[in-house]
Symmetry: C2
Subunit: 359 residues, 2 copies
């Protein structure tokens, strides 16, 4: 077996070892067919089975009803920041945004190009280290947008904000599939693939069919959900190989007990780390409000920036990579997505203890 | 060595065997670093080397000067159909389009959403089986757009249309890198990766820096060339693995003599097939005008649709895949991109001869 490091990157990030080994095995000649998945026509029978099965499996995992379309689009969450308001803001042309971090702020920038944006709540006052619990909602808004997990700050919503009958739109890029959710509470969920689902280059969009009639006909074609839906994500050539890996990840999740089992593992992994922080006598300090701590991105500080630098450097020498906090906040960040192994968290906890003793 | 079929698909399509073997070898642990390229942070040192080297190599291959930016964007050529007019049509808001096929028609649809489109020439009168040689150009157009190769119809421009001082914009998706070109003749070149460059999920954009000031500030961020250029294609997470494979393909081209050598090979491969068609006594009939025949997509017909069906089925049984013509035109299409091996073309020529004798 080849060497494998503990990759704490915030995304792109570690993918399930089994998935990587299977994809490598099938890379040059998929199931002995004599060509790679990335060389196949997206209209071929084999590729059709791959994308159809990816859709079927994500429907099973999230228990998505027939009232929803599942789309695989390019451009990541960033293009969704624009596609959401372009498609869903009309005709009222106003929407509520809950702003809990850098990505939410970016989504607001694009929404303002389309219509009126009401900031229903924000935690900008303390640099986004908590999740607001009260919202100033607009009753006739076209939708309410929120970001379920904040990769940079290490906070997450423990449940969906209550928004009444207004469609709820969620950027779930960094915690989709980390636990079961009730999709029926949402109008639309989108997520870049590169954290819990696969390589960069694809966004999953789950959208209520009844909302598709909002898409204006004069939208640029690639920006139009309705056109992508009518063409089953095949209006143009999709990111075929990326979707193939996403499908393998979905199969891996199903095989390992689905999202309920994943939630248990994720809670156990996060507890190991947060306990190490909380039991360090203040040497390690969690960066976010305790009740809003993310299961996916564990952010913390050391007594000084100098020690943080040393911590990250020494961890790197031990093949713990990607621990540096986002350049906008500093500190340490351990991203422990679904595919990140428990033994890696245990190893980090041990390292933290040793580092504290020595420093 | 595992089995490898002859894959005549129009795209996604066959990639260089050497590239596929190297990528498979490095799939699970890139150069022994303990993680896959698809698991690396796009901000990591290793990935920075990968994308920087891909850009450097495409600059060498196409001899791209410092007056041009090189971008790797998601959304394929389809998103470029919109981004080109959104960024380059202002302030005059009119552009000339040369319409030589289905993709050019689609690019016109998006351009019309932005401004006035003048169809400078079209070969729609004979279902796009030739390339018009005369153009009705608008002197104050923002740009002239053309499609250098028409995948569906099997025609291509043998040289750039003469457009004077108006910036020339080219959709080169299906023949980029098939021969040397003079980039200085262009304002912008774009190409989906999935024919001559790599997997689906990325478009290469080469754009003259002086044109970037046209990008309106109120454009949606992902649609703005200027923002992508300022961020060296890293405004958001790019399609990291796709770009890695593109880089390997560029290295393979450089190692094999660059585009001049590729042109010789491509001309020899195409000649083998066109000669087989022309010397068949009319049994095989080329679908496009002789002087406009594509080096990449060789389209032809048999005496009847029934024989075409039989031809494709028998070829399929011999592991020649992807020979069916596009659903909109029928017939046979052999796509023989850069990576398609000469021995595959020879095998098809032999099969054509046997099939003719037997039928």
């Amino acid at each position: 077996m080849e060497k494998r490091i503990f990759n704490f990157s915030a995304g792109p990030c570690t993918l399930p070892e089994e998935v990587m080994l299977e994809a490598q095995e099938d890379f040059y000649s998929y199931k002995g067919q004599g060509l790679s998945v990335m060389e196949m026509s997206h209209r071929s029978k084999t590729y059709d089975e791959i994308i159809t099965s990816a859709e079927k499996d994500i429907r099973t995992l999230l228990n998505i009803s027939d009232e929803y379309e599942v789309l695989f689009l390019q451009g990541g969450a960033t293009l969704q920041f624009s596609m959401v308001p372009l498609n869903l803001m009309p005709p009222a042309n106003k929407a509520d945004y809950i702003v809990t971090g850098a990505w939410a702020k970016k989504s607001v920038v694009e929404a303002k190009r389309v219509g009126e944006v009401n900031i229903a709540a924000t935690s900008a006052d303390t640099n986004f280290n908590y999740i607001p619990k009260e919202y100033n909602l607009t009753p006739d808004a076209s939708y309410v947008h929120y970001t379920s997990n904040n990769t940079i700050f290490g906070t997450e919503f423990k449940s969906e904000p209550e928004v009444g009958n207004v469609p709820l739109v969620c950027d779930a890029s960094s915690n989709i599939l980390c636990r079961p959710i009730d999709v029926n509470k949402y109008g639309l969920i989108y997520a870049g693939a590169q954290k819990n689902m696969g390589p960069a280059g694809c966004a999953l969009v789950v959208v209520k069919k009844s909302l598709l009639e909002r898409s204006p006909e004069d939208l640029h074609t690639y920006m139009n959900y309705n056109i992508h839906a009518k063409n089953a994500s095949m209006y143009n050539t999709p990111a075929t190989y990326t979707i193939y890996i996403m499908g393998l990840v979905y199969k891996w999740l199903l095989k390992n007990g689905g999202l309920k089992a994943m939630e248990e593992v994720n809670e156990a992994k996060a507890k190991l780390l947060y306990d190490a922080i909380d039991n360090s006598g203040g040497y390690y300090k969690g960066a976010s409000a305790v009740e809003d701590r993310s299961l996916m991105n564990v952010t913390f500080n050391l007594p000084s920036e100098e020690l943080e630098k040393k911590f990250i450097a020494e961890a790197g020498a031990k093949d713990f990579s990607g621990l540096k906090g986002h350049r906008s906040v500093g500190g340490v960040r351990a991203s422990i997505y679904n595919a990140f192994p428990t033994k890696g968290v245990e190893a980090l906890v041990e390292f933290m203890s040793t580092f504290k003793t020595n420093n």
